[in-house]
Symmetry: C2
Subunit: 453 residues, 2 copies
């Protein structure tokens, strides 16, 4: 066992924690990977230099370092390995909004909601909105290229990251990009680090682009007899317009949310779609009409339209709490598979078939407008056979997505939970290319080992 | 001298060209780098396998390979080195627009204008629009992360590239990304290859995202007494809205264009701004009013607004032909410097001071809305002293941009012409990181040597 006292001595008092009770709270993320190891210690850096000192010490002692934002990873991206240092960015806080360049320079421990709020205070908007936006950090968002509900029109995290400060595997800190909107000088290293899941460096600052505030959105909710009808309606909408939001919930998730919130959702619905348009004036009215038409044309039993923001937000909130709501029904295996949009109805049908074949419950929610679904496999962890069948279904859903030309992860990242299926999607040559980049930037493999590769 | 006959034998008849007259036409790009070398041969692959055969042969014989789209690089990104193979993608043609996924799969030799046209035929839109869009290729656009006029609102090439096929330095062909809009599986290799200027691999296919067609744009033209006033107007506009276009021309470029087109531009103007709004309905009217107000508040002598698309296009065309128009006045050293937007007036003033100090003419055009300027240094190449002073001014403009926290290249790439200034912008550690990635992916340095590094 490596002695951390030299690291403790090199950092401010109390920054290195070895109390086993505290370590226990940091060894797993929200994916609750049962194979998580026992960390050597926890480091809570405040400034970039603390991160550099930590990484240099890790490099010198051959100690792995696992970086953690708020631990909301759903794929085990921030899970301890035995003998690793856990590095939490929770004390790296601060944000400076610059209205002139319409950017915000954020320390990694800022919550996504805080970035949004700081932007909103200056009448600006930071669009990316993972469902966990109130409890996930901007550093973690950048490290995983997080998505959300607005992506269908406004893109994902990488579309907003203009600059990064990153601590490399040898402890050097580099600044990539900056506040300028267009910059072709050198390789696209900023974009390479976004979504690199802690494998290439530790993100210590994120400069994001902000937009003028979003126009008030109008919401259309459609209730469908089957998931197939609803997913056909999605394709009908996206073939003709680009809504500001287009979310999907199946019957299981609707009922789980209704159990939790008692908001009057239709428990008999086969599926529900929640669409929004933020196009102003007549263009918005035309878009809403088009969405309503696509819903009706695909057998929607009820179509409800509102331009009351509070009413719209209530439905959005219903969608956002779907994962915690379904989680109350049992343990979850969380999928994040995506397919090119026209394949969405077949994917949804295929997931239903996999659920039936394996005798397990799979709730399906989706950022349907960009083909990104979250089948949630519910199981009783004390029932070994059900747990086995759930795992089988988990594998089969990813296999199905890959077979359909899609992805095993649209926005959660590969982490530790999905790495077994990555080669099937990427192929040996791309895996090899991935390893080449990883090995070049982290030759001793100290950064988040066991993730992705 | 390496014997190319084994390569000729391995490829279809006539694909390898050694005729010196033909080679001469391919050794330089539009930057006309006088230090361009003499290539060994030219290869005109048709399919990916031809590229693989060529690269494998190059790897085996240690022969460098310089990839060329249409040779429109303004920074010497496609310039021969002695003994290199020039590989042109001009015969790699074809495009498949998929309306269901709203994507287009393009072979690299397709012109940008052809991609736009193919999309438009299916009532879709490919936004990126370098001024050279009629004569530059989509493969070159991806390799340089090309920009254009619409970027201020719609982003640059990388924002549209969903997938690539790339031939690596060892001849393997890999597929990165695909048609799905969201994909977090593995490192962001697709984005790493976009803008990599031929250093990491050869792009043999590009899958781009398409948008619904752009709404008709309304155009506002402002005539200003000085470049300073115009650039202040730019900052006033961008602080409050995100126009669909915001272009800048100074007096020299206005007069050069007027000499060429005789379209009635104001020869006495200090500067001209051309702005567009494509926001629909009342939102568009509000945006136009805001732009007009910002122009008037910054001493615009005349403000002309039109919703006639043909009239708007005439002004846009004036801006697009500025580089060839100024080129008629002498040889050009072409800048592409960018700064964070509030620094734009100071940059423009600084460029004027540099022109005066060195006794050279510098015409300034700019994609002003994203802080990206093109100072065009005009000189007589037969006048050694003027050529020397032009080079001095070229250096000083890049130095100024770096000093102001900006970039030496917003959209043209570093190529060969700007690599001397790249370390000043990026710093030693980022240069080292760049070299690490390059060496990992191209250990023998056969891909476009002499560019960027």
């Amino acid at each position: 066992m490596v002695d951390v006292s030299t690291l403790s001595a090199a950092l401010p008092d109390g920054m290195v924690v070895t109390d086993p009770d505290i370590l226990a709270a940091y060894r797993q993320d929200r994916a609750q990977d049962p194979s998580a190891g026992t960390p050597l210690a926890l480091v809570r850096p405040v400034v970039t230099e603390d991160v550099q000192t930590t990484v240099r010490w890790c490099a010198e002692h051959g100690v792995p370092v696992v970086t953690r934002g708020a631990g909301t990873s759903l794929s085990g991206g921030a899970t301890a390995v035995d003998g690793a240092l856990m590095l939490t960015t929770e004390k790296m806080r601060g944000i400076a909004v610059d209205t002139a360049t319409r950017t915000a320079v954020c320390k990694p421990g800022m919550f996504n909601a805080e970035v949004k709020a700081a932007a909103a205070e200056r009448d600006l908007w930071y669009p990316p909105d993972p469902s966990s936006y109130e409890i996930c950090t901007i550093g973690g968002n950048a490290a995983t290229n997080a998505g959300g509900l607005c992506c269908v029109k406004y893109g994902v995290t990488v579309d907003y990251v203009l600059g990064l400060e990153v601590v490399l595997a040898d402890g050097r800190a580099v600044r990539l990009g900056g506040k300028q909107l267009k910059d072709s000088a050198g390789l696209s290293l900023t974009r390479l680090f976004v979504g690199s899941e802690g494998l290439l460096g530790i993100i210590t600052e994120v400069t994001v682009r902000l937009l003028p505030p979003q126009a008030p959105a109008c919401t259309v909710v459609g209730i469908f007899p089957t998931v197939h009808d609803a997913s056909r309606a999605v394709v009908a909408v996206t073939a003709r317009t680009r809504p500001a939001m287009l979310e999907f919930m199946d019957s299981t998730s609707i009922n789980a949310v209704e159990d939790l919130l008692r908001m009057g959702l239709d428990r008999n619905a086969g599926a529900m779609l929640i669409a929004q348009s933020d196009a102003p004036g007549p263009a918005g009215a035309a878009e809403i009409a088009l969405i309503e038409e696509a819903f009706h044309a695909n057998r929607a039993g009820e179509v409800f339209t509102t331009d009351d923001p509070a009413e719209g937000e209530a439905f959005t909130q219903a969608r956002r709490v779907a994962i915690p709501a379904v989680e109350k029904k049992g343990s979850l295996l969380l999928e994040d598979v995506g397919v090119p949009l026209p394949a969405l109805p077949d994917l949804v049908d295929g997931v239903a078939a996999i659920a039936a074949d394996n005798g397990v419950t799979i709730a399906v929610i989706a950022h349907a407008g960009d083909g990104n679904t979250h089948p949630l496999i519910v199981f009783d962890p004390t029932d070994d056979d059900e747990a086995r069948r759930a795992q089988l279904a988990f594998d089969q859903v990813m296999g199905l997505a890959v077979e359909m030309g899609g992805t095993i992860t649209g926005e959660h990242g590969v982490g530790r939970l999905k790495k077994g299926w990555l080669p099937a999607q990427l192929g040996d040559d791309v895996m090899d290319l991935t390893a080449t980049v990883k090995n070049a930037l982290d030759p001793h493999g100290i950064l988040n080992p066991g993730v992705l590769l």
